[in-house]
């Protein structure tokens, strides 16, 4: 694919993340921190997020298998997970975290389990899309435009 076309494709891909509600403005804050001294900052932070959070999700998964459920522990894990998800702008994932916490507060184990399944789904979807995005961004190389495209 010709280079300009590649960049256009990447631009549209990125825009779709916001249009579909996968990412929010916090992702733009993350992008703003990328500069010549840290040219891969966004990808590095997102990679770190997926690495760190996979352990938290495993902890939650294991905690959900216990009987009775320890809602306090689940809440603490989710607090941590929501913090990092919020930091990278993972909007849909963040929403599921909030829902999960509501169910924890209500002591609703089934609600927690159902929400957790949805959360894992959103988490995986975002991961796959961002992996593709970063891969294509690397392949395309630096853009010739002076300004980074903004959300709106």
């Amino acid at each position: 694919m010709e280079r300009n076309q590649m960049h256009k494709h990447i631009f549209l891909m990125r825009q779709s993340f916001f249009d579909q509600g996968l990412l929010d403005e916090q992702f733009i804050q993350l992008e703003e921190l990328q500069d010549d001294a840290n040219p891969n900052f966004v990808e590095e932070v997102v990679t770190l997020y997926y690495r760190d959070s996979s352990r938290t999700l495993l902890n939650i998964e294991q905690s959900l298998e216990k009987n009775p459920l320890d809602f306090n522990k689940l809440d603490n894990y989710m607090h941590q997970f929501k913090g990092s998800s919020t930091s990278i702008g993972a909007k849909k994932v963040k929403a599921e975290c909030t829902q999960f916490r509501e169910y924890c507060r209500a002591g609703n184990g089934e609600g927690c389990m159902r929400t957790f399944q949805q959360l894992k789904k959103e988490y995986a979807i975002l991961k796959k899309k961002l992996e593709t995005y970063f891969q294509q961004t690397r392949q395309a190389g630096p853009s010739e435009t002076a300004c980074r495209p903004r959300m709106n």
Binding site: Q26, H79, K94
Partner: protein, 158 residues
Amino acid sequence: MASDTDYDSDGMRDNGNGGSSEGNGRRRRHPMMTWRNNLRALVVDNGRICRIMESGLLDAYGVEVEAVGTGEAAVELIASGETFDLIVIEMFLPFMSGPETARTIREMGITSKILGIAPMYWEKDAQEFLAAGIDEFLEKPFTPELFVPFLREIDNQK
């Protein structure tokens, strides 16, 4: 940008005693804002990603940042004589909680602006944090829209 090599993924030092901070290894060449005074901030957050973003954003806005993963490390740093204009503390820290950290810092006679932050909370959590001595409680994400007014206030008062 603050490095993060000294911490495991939970932001905890192996010895569990807090430990050294991550300072600004590199100051941004062209910060988004400049201040009349040299502003220093301490970020206390056990979440590694959160810590990177919070300290990264403050750095981008012209603030010299130290970042630690525990309340104990924050208290140790302050006790060693380090001074900060702004202290940002996550509410749910392991071991010494956010409110406990804020209370301890205030008991040390520190009058710096302290902001409490959390990604989600119940009202009673916020009240507990405020009662512990923070100046303001903010919901994450920690964005420039939230922290720049405080930096402006601090800069004007220095």
